[in-house]
């Protein structure tokens, strides 16, 4: 169990001529909530898709809990995509059943309880659900797997602040000490206080990886403020810092 839950070495991903990841070295420990932070197009979604095996790296290697990405690692990774992939004719409880059939580690009872607390009507069809309802349902499904690594791609985009608080609360009260949660977002101010660590992704590279309170202590400012600084210098002339 002391293997790093995530280990990336020289990870490169190119789509044709376009380089999405330009050599990422990253190690994540167990029991952390990690923010994967970067502006649009910095490679957040590409990195997450490589971690869950939806994409193959062009160069470099990814290991999850010490193992190369494959069926074994997929069984312990719970992934929330940046868009909903469920058929819209399905009802909430159909999806709960689908997850129970597909994932050995899915806790059906916990999910049904969570849906009740979130006041989700599981008899409703996906088609009829509001965006916030869909996101909450999807998060409940993903967080109710007893996984070792949760990869949440933009879980708070496009929901109102109250729903956002609820989603963040669901995350901090439902992960366990042996698992790590990776949350990608560009809305840092909202999630900063739930994070242990922040990873800044800039132009396909991990340019910073530190504890959130370490950053605050060293910089005397919030991660949000630092983020604005790091990414404002884009396009400025001059040499390397």
């Amino acid at each position: 169990m002391d293997e790093k839950i995530v280990s990336c070495r020289g990870l490169v991903k190119r789509y044709g001529k376009k380089t999405a990841l330009a050599g990422v070295d990253l190690e994540l420990e167990r029991g952390k909530i990690v923010g994967l932070l970067g502006p649009n197009g910095s490679g957040k979604t590409t990195l997450i898709k490589l971690l869950c095996g939806l994409l193959q790296p062009t160069e470099g290697a990814v290991r999850i809990g010490g193992k190369p990405v494959g069926p074994e690692t997929k069984a312990v990774v719970s992934y929330l995509p940046d868009r909903m992939y469920f058929a819209d004719w399905m009802k909430g409880h159909d999806l709960v059943g689908l997850f129970a059939d597909f994932y050995k580690d899915f806790d059906r009872k916990k999910c049904e309880d969570m849906c009740a607390r979130l006041e989700l009507d599981t008899g409703e069809r996906v088609k009829a659900m509001s965006k916030g309802t869909k996101e909450k349902l999807q998060l409940a499904l993903v967080m109710c797997r007893n996984a070792q690594l949760y990869l949440l791609d933009e879980p708070i985009a496009g929901v109102d602040p109250a729903a956002r608080d609820f989603i963040l609360n669901t995350i901090i009260t439902n992960y366990n000490e042996a698992s790590t949660v990776v949350i990608s977002t560009h809305l840092i101010g909202d999630i900063e206080k739930v994070l242990d660590e922040a990873v800044f992704l800039k132009e396909g590279k991990a340019v910073l990886h530190d504890g959130v309170d370490v950053i605050r202590e060293r910089e005397g400012k919030s991660v949000d403020a630092l983020f604005r600084e790091v990414f404002r210098t884009d396009g400025r002339e001059g040499g390397e810092a």
Binding site: G31, K32, I33, D165, L168, N169, I172, T173, K193, V194, L195, D196, V212, D213, R216, E217, G220, K221, S222, D224, A225
Partner: protein, 122 residues
Amino acid sequence: MDWKLTGDRPIWQQLTEQVALRILTGEYPPGSRLPAVRELAAQAGVNPNTMQRAMAQLEQDGLAVGSRTAGRTVTVDGAVIAAAREQRAQEAARQYLDALAALGYGPEDAGRLIEEEAERHG
């Protein structure tokens, strides 16, 4: 009481101060059981590891007493609480003096201003 977190300082320090304040004001009385870390973290909307660190600091400061099985309780040592309260009051006085200094008043004006203000409020 609500949790107030600002951007410029580590979150765990702010949490330590705010839980300590609840102890000093008697909201968490001496000897009482403190809420579980997870519960406090959920209340404040922060990471449980961060809250854990804040509570560990309270133990180090002697305001909380930890036990592996029974959770954390507020210390029953009145002297520790009194000392911490005194220290907070000193910090408040320091901030007051700094605010006056910024306006060009010296420490000699401080007493007079306090007395006048106290009189106005009866």
